[in-house]
């Protein structure tokens, strides 16, 4: 018998030969909690990785979503973020889970996702430097940890914290899309320029909302000479 990492209820795993021989990764959420997670499947935007089935057809043009086209049309941002891939739809349940991790500080909950993340993104993580999106010093002290870093560490042992966040600005989640796009000063700095020259970088974050955080991080890396920058997030 195990306890669900999220709702703490005890549950028994479904019976199977694989489980009996210990071949399956131990599920960490109970059936009713894991049923509330929605994997991103089917047709997705080629850049940001969002599922086309979940938003109105008029915001789609070919293989791209309207948001990404707007970014790409702006010369300054063309090709900065090569692609993003996310595992789950950022639905009400996942919002609750991520809020519990970030705002209540329950770091352990990330473990529920790491087996699926590791296997899904194996091909991405093998060939690139993993760089977590940093928090500002003050925010990280307040929270005690950086969720993106924990998340990156659950994917691979080699995590490169090459970015630094300088300004302690308002929380992203309290801003509108327009505010975020208009942000003049890029909050990110590179700590070690030499180690990123001509490298492929894989940025790691918990949520892709408007894509501006990831694009700002990608921008400083690109300007400093990185070759390709893509990203993965838990939720989209």
């Amino acid at each position: 018998m195990s306890y669900c990492l999220f709702c703490h209820q005890s549950y028994s795993e479904t019976w199977s030969w694989a489980a009996l021989f210990g071949l399956n990764a131990e599920p960490l959420l109970c059936q009713s909690c894991s049923a509330k997670l929605e994997l991103i499947k089917g047709e997705i935007c080629r850049i940001c990785g969002r599922s086309f089935s979940l938003f109105p057809e008029q915001y789609r043009q070919g293989d791209f979503c309207y948001d990404c086209i707007r970014w790409e049309e702006d010369e300054e941002w063309t090709g900065v973020l090569q692609q993003n891939r996310s595992l789950y739809v950022y639905n009400d349940f996942l919002k609750e889970v991520i809020a519990k991790i970030k705002y209540r500080g329950d770091a352990e909950l990330f473990k529920a996702f790491s087996p699926v993340m590791t296997s899904t993104f194996k091909s991405f993580t093998r060939s690139a430097l993993l760089v977590p999106i940093p928090l500002s010093e003050e925010r990280q002290y307040e929270r005690g940890f950086n969720q993106a870093e924990i998340f990156a560490q659950s994917l691979t042992r080699n995590v490169y914290p090459l970015l630094k966040r300088v300004t302690h600005e308002e929380k992203q989640s309290k801003k509108t899309r327009k505010d975020r796009m208009a942000k003049k000063n890029n909050p990110f700095l590179i700590t070690d320029e030499d180690s990123i020259k001509n490298k492929s970088i894989l940025l790691i974050d918990d949520v892709y909302t408007t894509g501006s955080t990831l694009r700002y991080a990608a921008k400083v890396l690109k300007d400093a000479g990185a070759d390709q920058i893509s990203s993965i997030t838990l939720a989209r």
């Binding site: 306890y3 703490h8 519990k100 209540r104 500080g105 352990e108 929270r143 005690g144 940890f145």
Partner: protein
Amino acid sequence: MRFVSYFLNDYLTVVPETLVGNPELKLVPFGELPELESQPLNSSYDYDEKLQQILYGKMLLFDELHIPLEIIHEHYENGFVMYNKGVKKNKYGWQCNRCNNEKDHLFASFSCFRCKSEKCVYCRNCIMMGRVSMCTPLLSWTGPEVEQIEENQLVWEGELSAGQKTASDRFVEQVGKSGELLIWAVCGAGKTEVLFHGIEKALKLGLRVCIATPRTDVVLELAPRLKKAFPTTLIASYYGGSDERETPAQLVLSTTHQLYRFKQAFNLMIVDEVDAFPYSYDKTLQHAVSTSTRTDALRLYLSATPSRKMKKEVTQNKLPCVKIPIRFHGFPLPVPKIVWSGEWKKRLEKGKLPPAFLRWVKSQAASERRAMIFVPSVTIIDHVTQFIRKQVEVTVDSVHAEDPLRKEKVVRFRQGDIQLLVTTTILERGVTVPFLDVAIFGTDHEVFSESALVQMAGRAGRSKNDHDGQVLFFHYGKSLSMLSAIKHIREMNKEAGF
């Protein structure tokens, strides 16, 4: 957090990292420090009264006090505030000092930026109230007590029924003494009024009083009633998201979960619905009730359906008890009628309702009386509702625990916009709607315990003008719980002299 520790006049003293000027001093994670003792009290220190009011009788985190660290630390140096361990190790494993959780699977660790330790252990049981970890001190007040200067006056002018009066008198007599008392009152006996005189006496004696209940709804419903009855008393409500936590109240209304925050605070603790989930099930909540009260406190328990264990303690004379077997309006409890409705599960699978049940729904629709229909599980709630909607012309809706419109639907039901409300056991307690009948669908199902059935039957006939509501148990074979529930209700009526 990390601290610098040193000896000052033979006292071990600590200073938080951010207040240390000298970068060469050795910083130690709070969890690695020995158990601290409070500093000698400097009685000439001019302490912050606001901090005293917020912290007195509680254990809080730095993050919960919106007061600068240096001010709090100054109170520590002068012996007014104590830094207690958050999570500590005991013989068997970890223990949370706030909620007393000792379950292994409810602890985890993370690489902590505050104490720089790779494995900072934290409690996952009470994390919704802010993280308690090895390196977070829990603050308590060690200075002088808050003095209650308000005049306390009860201005309630209602009259108690004979049953209520017996219980009220017994309660008043016990106030000021220590020990326990159970008030076993039938659903609709009017428990709140029974409390008024006892609370008044306690407040006048300068005692600190708490009413704890398992559910937020009850806190919200009770708060205005108490504020009206005790207009000059400082009253604060505590529930997830409440904003009265900084009021220096003498009378506190709280959900049982919020009691985790209190330590040694109350002289009179009233536990409402002592048999209800999750209180009856979660050991840490029971522990919260005992640590939030003083050792010499009086604990009053309220219940319509005490657990078997409590009833046993009553018969063995270990737990003093006073019963109110009669409702405040003086009429007997409606006794449930049992109605055979065949194999209801199979009928539902075929997309039909049992004929006996359908007949009742039709007659109920024609009578224009409201009814609550309890079903055994969330999965069948929609089926039952749809089938009724299809076959009978009546306003019907359903509500379950995770329904986002739960509150609105209950309000609409109360107003009469919904005639039939299909629900699970979540509404078994607390909802009082006049002119109401009750039907239980699939009463033989194992989720319906004796106490659940008594509570559901207790929804009917609550008003003086409609004391004889109907209660129907639709079943496919009588269960033991059904029979015990009916026996329970009959015995209460007999005791009341009917």
